[in-house]
Subunit: 308 residues, 3 copies
């Protein structure tokens, strides 16, 4: 199924599932190394994997360790990754360099898509994607995740993009890149912690079967790239837009006042929003990732059944 | 010639022409569904097809209907499309979703290029291409047509881009993307309704044979993407720059004053320019599309004769 | 090794080296036609070729002449090119058109990468790459070199990018495009005439072997595009940032005051910086290209030895 000379180490479970044509869902690992402290990160990662198994699919958490792309982390490897403080945060630009260095790296959305496609996995669940940063009209700071969606053939289930980004510009760039952006069950593009963003989604679909059919059709007509499935956070876990936006604005003002710049901005904002929402931002984050894992499993099941 | 499992329905005429290696010219369909009211849109579409036939090539109007990419519309299908008020306006991002939904969609420049390449058609005639919108330095609103020219191997004959766009930025983006921009018979990039734009074109060619040779050379050296052939509106039909620009400025000022935003801007501007020019903008539009159809047919004939 | 119908004319020396699997380094030619007056340009080109030979690799200077991509210029061809005042400056957009026209064209970084990949050459030495121009937030003027690094599988050894460009934006665009940017032997991205830029480089490597291994790994995992190897100018030849930046600022102010615009800006700035540094900018330029040629040869030797 995959080129044996590739530096690709599939777990026994993932290999068996892929060889049998069973549904597999890829998972990224920066949420483990850069998203939460230990041991909450490990617990969350295991909870997300459990959701996928409960839904009838096989989870494949992806990371780079020891010069190999690990696809599916055994328990010990997941635990080790969760305790690697200096893990790199890998994107398209530095994935190969990390492989040759032998260092440990966690995969962002972009790098996870690349590795999933190499392994033959077509669906991937995450929290939110990177996007166009606020102020990008001057900084040109735009996540490589957007362009990856135009290149790697993986359908990515996310809860939209965080409201700390510039969402209107993010949607424009996705349109320019020809990436399908599909809101699930509503007409509005969701904004990670909130179900609403005030912005219409370019496409709406209401079932995993429809999303899987559109994924297959893109492949059939030869279009590279995947789909961004924007799955709203469950209503019971959301922080409504009217509540989260003031926290975002306060955090942005603090970052500006304290001269926080460049790559330090996003972690600073997320920390402040965590504090300003009394931790609700993290609760919502975990809930939405689990929710995305369930939908991704349903899409993977549709894809696997259609291939038979 | 094409993969039989593709959702591609070639008309008998187009299939016969392609199988015989005869010249074929693709045509887009948003000009039919979103460009003019019925029945003028149908008359204009038939006139453009007639130009191509008169020039010795076969027209292939492209649209999505009933889950198929139609390449070449029989008379009844063209008439039905011309009377479908809710037709989608398809680009790279939503072409596959429309195919699986079974809805009717008209193809923009980007989607027409994708479908033409799938069908094995190398030349496509249209009016103007999408580009960088005015204010894109803040809105990031850039048409997917530009990037498509860097990806799909189709030579697109247009009369430049409308002066309601930001033409200097449009030319910069095309240069960054590595797209050949070829003015025909003059050194200046044409501006749709006007032969002049005040901007030099990166390349100039004076014959269909030269354009066809450059198209073949790009394929030979392995470059993806097509060429933008910028063919000036015939002198007798143009609205000179000095006359059209005041109308554009008035329309832009009205849009700003009335708070017209996002996807509503372009239709508003075109309506106002139609009124402000006493309908001359539409007359010029039809004339330039017919003129582009003639040149596209000549290029297709050169390509077909070289392949023998 | 290469398709015989390609318009590709390899010199006897380059052909023999490629067929034997020996190390070859591509060189661009705009530095010859647009970088210096005759005969200094010819002397510099020969000196760079001599560095590559002395290091144990074969130089392959690339240009378009007589409808062919010349890969490796014999002495007479190099001399003729160095005296062709009207040579075109070719990028991705106009390479094919120049080939069909029969005109003489020098290749920029982008076009050299395309031609090197066609010829099967994986390493290329130059001075600096194009980047995001100052003011690009309004002009959208971004060199096609950046996107080429994401598409053509060639490792490019440069001394960074000139400080007349917007270096922070250039690094952001490279990150967005997924291009590895590797500083050699230091943590900072170098700025052409200066070893320092004040900007951290995304990656650092300290040996040709490491750079070659990362190049091979990108190919192995299926990523298109190359790597930007940012090799600092030798310390003895540099113009420190504190000395060059005032000259850059003076030149920029003069350009603004004299209304220099568009494609005239870069040559104007380089001329003024030459005068303002009493010619040291040219001395540094020649030294850094020779330095890059040596490193490129070492990388090519690593790649050739690994393929055996
Ligand atoms: Mn960034
Ligand atoms: Mn748009
Ligand atoms: Mn430029």
């Amino acid at each position: 199924m995959t080129n044996p000379s590739l530096p690709l180490a599939l777990s026994a479970e993932v290999r068996a599932a892929l060889e049998a044509g069973l549904p597999v869902v890829a998972l990224e690992s920066t949420i483990i190394t850069h998203g939460m402290p230990y041991p909450q990160n490990l617990e969350a990662a295991r909870a997300v994997e459990a959701e996928i198994r409960a839904a009838g699919a096989t989870p494949a958490t992806i990371a780079v360790m020891g010069g190999q792309i690990m696809v599916g982390l055994e328990d010990a490897a997941l635990d080790a990754l969760a305790q690697t403080p200096g893990a790199l945060k890998l994107s398209r630009a530095d994935l190969a360099a990390c492989l040759v260095s032998g260092r440990t790296g966690a995969t962002t959305v972009a790098a996870t898509m690349i590795c999933a496609e190499l392994a033959g996995i077509e669906v991937f669940a995450t929290g939110g994607i990177g996007g166009v940063h606020r102020g990008a009209e001057l900084s040109f700071d735009i996540s490589a995740d957007l362009r990856e969606l135009a290149h790697s053939r993986v359908t990515v289930v996310a809860a939209g993009a965080k409201a700390i980004l510039d969402l209107p510009k993010t949607l424009e760039v996705l349109e320019t890149l020809g990436v399908p952006v599909i809101a699930v069950g509503q007409d509005e593009f969701p904004a990670f912690w909130s179900r609403a963003s005030g912005l219409p989604a370019p496409l709406r679909m209401d079932s995993a079967a429809e999303i899987a059919a559109a994924h297959r059709m893109r492949g059939l007509i030869g279009l590279p790239g995947g789909q961004l499935v924007a799955n709203p956070v469950p209503a019971g876990d959301e922080i409504p837009l009217a509540e989260i936006m003031p926290a975002v604005e306060v955090a942005l003002a603090e970052a500006a006042a304290q001269g926080i710049a460049a790559k330090a901005v996003t972690p600073f904002l997320l920390d402040r929003i965590f504090a300003l929402t009394d931790g609700r931002s993290l609760t919502a984050n975990i809930a939405l990732v689990r929710n995305n894992a369930r939908l991704a499993a349903a899409i993977a099941i549709e894809l696997a059944s259609a291939e038979k």
